[in-house]
């Protein structure tokens, strides 16, 4: 019998005897499934948050903040700054007017739907250019706010996370009453977590005078960024920080992703160790329960190497089953789960959905296979080295 046939026959043996050891096998499978589910679940938080940020940016859009500001929250630009920015080189134009959108950014307290506790919801004041700079913003329900009136439109994600944002609601914020007249989408981007209103109404309500937080600029082309940046950097009238929108939002998700990834590594590293001990236990038990059988096989001519491979194969199979179970379970349990968290850079809430991506699932299953391989290797070596005469003599 050649070596491959030996291996195949041995694998057949071990699989057929699996039902006799089903308890131990299930313990190993569920142990690994638990690790994989937690790994996928935790990492899907970071992936979901990142997706919102990644879906926001457009390479032909630039965001301009005051120099030294790290986010919209800490940036202040005055009216003349905005004019300088709008007329800089590299800005796209439509109908002779530059596509530059000065924007106000404030934060208001609204209760979270899930807990009823107050949450910092971003409230943006915009001018007409905002809709040209962000063509992805579309009203899906109701109508746009009327210029000059106390009306707001609410992002779809904000509607799902924060109370008092339904169409037709009268929103009492301080001494102002705002009516929700529309719901908008922005291709899943961060704007969907926000409330929008006319900057000319929002500014006085928050005593912001002739000032803004940022200016969003549509570039003539993605390649015009450097030209635009150089023009403003060289301009002595202003001191600004200019970033491509995509870079700006990628940086905002970095803190949370680092935190989530760091925690996932610690938690799942330790859990993996626990599952590894479980897998080792299962496979050692399997080998010792089958020691007579293995010795008999070796006595009639099966090679130690073939025995080793068959034990390893069984361990990998159990790990694969556990990995699949965990990954699919995590997908069913977490994918698309909507929540909101604090974006510390802007001190305001970002709504996002857990995102169980295929690459996360594949990565986690690979991790399960590594656990299975290590957990099977040592018992496999023991099986291959089993002294035949001794094993046969045992009762």
């Amino acid at each position: 019998m050649n070596w491959l046939a030996q291996v195949a026959a041995l694998i057949g043996f071990s699989l057929r005897s699996l039902p006799a050891r089903i308890g131990a096998a299930l313990a190993a499978i569920f142990g690994i499934a638990g690790v994989v589910a937690v790994l996928v679940g935790v990492l899907s938080i970071g992936a979901g948050f990142h997706k919102v940020m990644a879906d926001t940016g457009s390479p032909d859009t630039a965001i301009v903040l005051r120099s030294g500001a790290d986010s919209e929250m800490t940036s202040v630009l005055v009216g003349p700054d905005a004019d300088v920015i709008a007329t800089a080189a590299g800005v796209a134009r439509a109908g002779g007017k530059p596509l530059a959108s000065p924007e106000l950014f404030v934060v208001v307290d609204l209760p979270k739907r899930s807990t009823g506790t107050p949450a910092n919801v971003p409230f943006r004041g915009v001018k007409a250019e905002a809709f040209a700079v962000r063509p992805e913003v579309k009203i899906v329900q109701g109508r746009p706010f009327a210029w000059g009136r106390n009306e707001v439109i609410v992002g779809r994600a904000a509607l799902s996370q924060f109370a008092n944002t339904e169409l037709g609601t009268k929103l009492h914020l301080g001494q102002n009453i705002w009516e929700v007249v529309g719901i908008f989408e922005a291709k899943g981007g961060i704007s969907e977590s926000e409330l929008w209103a006319d900057a000319a109404v929002l500014g006085p309500a928050y005593r912001r005078g002739n000032s803004y937080q940022t200016v969003m600029v549509k570039l003539a082309s993605p390649g015009s960024f450097q030209q635009f940046k150089d023009a403003l950097t060289a301009d002595p009238r202003v001191s600004l920080r200019i970033e491509r929108e995509t870079d700006y939002y990628a940086a905002q998700s970095r803190t949370l992703r680092f935190l989530v990834t760091g925690l996932a590594v610690v938690i799942c590293g330790l859990m993996g160790l626990g599952a590894l001990f479980g897998a080792l236990n299962t496979m050692y038990t399997a080998v010792s329960a089958r020691s007579r059988e293995i010795a008999t096989l070796e006595a009639i001519g099966f090679g130690g190497g073939a025995v080793m491979i068959s034990v390893l194969f069984e361990a990998l199979l159990l790990a694969l089953a556990g990995g699949l179970l965990g990954a699919v379970g995590a997908y069913l349990a977490f994918d698309g789960y909507k929540t909101a968290t604090m974006n510390w850079q802007t001190f305001s809430q970002v709504a996002f959905a857990f995102d169980v991506t295929p690459s996360l699932m594949i990565g986690a299953i690979l991790y399960a296979l590594v656990i299975g391989a290590v957990g099977g290797l040592f018992p496999a070596i023991r099986a291959a080295r089993l002294p035949v005469s001794l094993a046969l003599r045992e009762p």
């Binding site: 800490t74 404030v106 949450a119 910092n120 803190t255 626990g274 080792l280 929540t339």
Partner: protein, 383 residues
């Protein structure tokens, strides 16, 4: 005594298997320690928030400022001991883009309100006397390598100085927490320095910390303050410090629920692994247990034999895990200072100890019950 001897003898039978089971339990309790510490960190010290402290802020949101003129009106109200202005600074240190708490306060009043921040008397005196003085928490001082006497330069963001773009502070003190749950990551400096040196923002402050005479009156005082400023351009929202911190922590998300979910998964897994081992140990020993019963061991003794074994395994391993977990957590947090506090609280240690005992009982219960119900005749024949 005989039973203990038998249990110990059984441990030696499958040394590797017992060891592996114990190791997986050890790992579970190290995880427990980490996750409890993480949860504590995200709670931001809500359990030590002073019941005699209120926070007054703008009703619309924390980022809206309040007039400084409110302070005199607040101080005049009944039941209030004293108040301190407080403003978020939001400066950047070196090229670090991460925000951490830098807050302007009125030192004399603030140190009376927050007595759990331990500042050596001579440093406190220096802070009262130095307009540019600031005190930093131990954790932050260690993170950036600061010493008392250093000049700290922060880059301005929305608080623009009158000249240039940076603010310079004299680090006159480093504070410690009166207990481990006190946040020692903050940087406190003087509000009068902020007032004098900022370009915009005359006469405003971020919020007020208030100390009240009797915690029982917290709610009625909070209501009175809010009524006082109702229908003014800057309406207020007053709440206890506990509610304030809790609201803040909940903005991050339900960390408690996530941690509980992970721990449930971990312990369920460990339960399977350890339970399986115990079941196996009993299955292999059916004949032996039959013999014990045949020579006069009672049902209760056989039950105890198996239960003691599983209890010993989980308690020894649990104890080692708790100890190691405590050591790892004490060594520092894995996020590199992002969490304000990170420690394994005594209460969590007690919970862990109880869990270890429960784990031993649950994993041993079914096999022990089976062993007790064993019919010696059957058992001996099966061999």
């Amino acid at each position: 005594m005989k039973l203990i001897g038998l249990v110990l003898a059984n441990f030696k039978r499958h040394k590797l298997r017992t060891l592996l089971t114990m190791l997986s339990i050890v790992v579970a309790f190290i995880l427990f320690a980490y996750l409890s510490a993480i949860k504590k960190g995200f709670e931001m010290g809500v359990s030590v928030a002073g019941a005699d402290r209120l926070v007054v802020r703008h009703k619309i949101s924390l980022i809206q400022p309040l007039p400084q003129s409110y302070q005199a009106q607040i101080d005049r109200m009944d039941g209030i001991t004293l108040s301190s202005q407080a403003s978020w600074f939001g400066g950047l240190y070196r090229d670090k883009q991460v925000q951490w708490a830098q807050i302007a306060v009125e030192p004399e009043k603030f140190t009376q309100i927050y007595t759990e921040f331990l500042i050596p008397p001579e440093q406190k005196k220096a802070w009262f006397e130095t307009r540019t003085g600031a005190v930093a928490g131990r954790k932050t001082a260690e993170r950036f390598g600061w010493k008392v006497g250093d000049k700290i330069t922060l880059q301005a963001t929305f608080n623009r100085p009158k000249v240039g773009n940076t603010w310079t502070f004299d680090l006159v003190g480093i504070y410690d927490g009166a207990h481990p749950e006190v946040d020692t990551t903050a940087f406190w400096f003087r509000h009068d320095y902020l007032n004098e040196n900022r370009l915009y923002g005359d006469g405003i402050t971020g919020w007020y910390y208030i100390k009240i005479k009797d915690p029982k009156n917290a709610e009625s005082i909070a209501r009175k303050i809010d009524e006082q400023f109702a229908n003014s351009p800057a309406e207020t929202k007053t709440e206890t410090e506990k509610a304030f911190i809790k609201g803040f922590a909940e903005q991050v998300g339900n960390i408690g629920a996530i941690v509980t979910a992970i721990l449930t998964a971990v312990f369920f897994t460990i339960l399977l692994v350890a339970g399986n081992t115990m079941a196996q140990a009993v299955r292999e020993r059916v004949g032996e247990l039959g013999v014990l019963k045949a020579i006069g061991f009672t049902d209760g003794q056989v039950l105890a034999l198996v239960l003691i074994e599983s209890l010993l395994i989980s308690m020894i391993a649990g104890g080692v895990g708790i100890l190691l977990g405590w050591m790892f957590v004490s060594a520092g947090d894995p996020t590199g200072g992002a969490l304000p506090v990170f420690f394994f609280a005594p209460r969590s240690i007690v919970t862990a100890a109880v869990l270890a005992v429960l784990l031993g009982i649950v994993t041993g219960a079914l096999p022990a019950f089976q062993a007790m119900r064993l019919n010696p005749v059957e058992a001996l024949r099966r061999e």
